[in-house]
Amino acid sequence: MVSAPSPTPEDFHVTATALPEPEHLTAVANRPPLPVKMVIAGGFGVGKTTTVAAISEIEPLTTEASITEVAAGVDDLTHTPHKTTTTVAMDFGCITLDPTLKLYLFGTPGQDRFGFMWDDLVEGALGGLVIVDTRRLDDCFAAVDYFENKGLPFAVGVNVFDGSLGHDLDEVRWALDIGENVPLVLFDARERGSVRDALLVVLELALARAER
């Protein structure tokens, strides 16, 4: 493939990446890096923010964003799920991988409701990491379902809170009802190297898919 395209201002329909920019848009800064993103999901308090903080080069930032939520019930007459838009706090961090490439990590808002849509966050994401606390496995079902449904490459990361895992990994896999094709890893959300390696598992999966 061609080398990675840098993003191009939409204002001019250039396709080459090396074209000089018109003077009126002369950058007051260097060309921005190519931004890529990954999504960190999971139930409440499983360590999403801790994970982002462990590897981000900035303190995790929080912003108000909107997610679409599908109410658990459906309309009796139309069988259409109710959809509402909810404003949530979303946190994120970033890692400058090189001057031309910046990885953003977006933590989904803690969410254990039945239906929710992070389409806004997930659109264009390289992959996702679903964090699981084995004491509350079911908190992650919504995230697993969502990523499966979206076809986003993802791995499940078991955050080992106390350094010990109460279950066998195979038991966890069985309980989560995830296929063999979904990587399941143990990691420590507080350890940068551990978070890095969990993210790499997701990226290797994404690469394997992209190469097919």
Binding site: D11, H24, F141
Partner: protein
């Protein structure tokens, strides 16, 4: 109800039948919807909020879409990681800009993502999207929109993997050096 959702049309608009995970029901009622927002105006108006509107910004956290005169950003436009950079025109125009426009252009002397901008300026992401769109139209901001296809680009994925492998762990070791020999 919940059980049937896996066999009827799925919550994501897909009729796919999914394995049933025992969903946890939330006890609390769903949060109130946002006020119904109109479709984004097809033509962005030149943003010209009245001075008194600008001076009430301390209360804008409650009604953020006053800032955008009720317009909301479409969910599909401008991804969170979209990079924005001030133009020289934008910097020259700073004195004439509204408070929020000014804040955005001034912050974008270095490239920033929309998400970073929103977080730093404590504005709702969609508010930033709308205002950044206006500023782009006015050529005060250069907006670099990433393409979703980047996520499946093998060369990009390889670069991300290589870059991340080189990130040292808390002992200062990159990925490949802490493997058992």
């Amino acid at each position: 109800m919940v059980g049937s959702a896996a066999t009827t049309e799925g919550p994501y608009g897909s009729p796919q039948v999914r394995p049933l995970r025992p969903y946890v029901m939330a006890d609390d009622p769903p949060p109130p919807p946002l006020p119904a927002a109109p479709e984004p105006a097809p033509e962005p108006e030149p943003p010209a909020p009245a001075p008194e509107e600008v001076s009430t910004r301390s209360s804008l956290a409650v009604r953020p879409f006053l800032l955008t005169t009720g317009r909301v950003a479409g969910a599909a436009e401008l991804p969170l990681e979209t990079q924005v950079v001030a133009t020289s025109d934008g910097l020259a125009a700073l004195p004439a800009l509204t408070f929020e426009q000014h804040a955005i252009v001034a912050a974008c002397r270095v490239p920033l993502s929309l998400a970073e901008l929103a977080a730093r300026l404590r504005l709702h992401l969609n508010v930033v999207r709308v205002i950044a769109g206006d500023l782009r139209t006015a050529r005060h901001l250069a907006v670099y929109v990433p393409q979703a296809s980047t996520a499946q680009d093998v060369s990009v994925l390889r670069r991300v993997i290589d870059g991340l492998r080189a990130v040292p762990d808390s002992r200062g070791l990159p990925r490949d050096s802490d493997r058992p020999a």
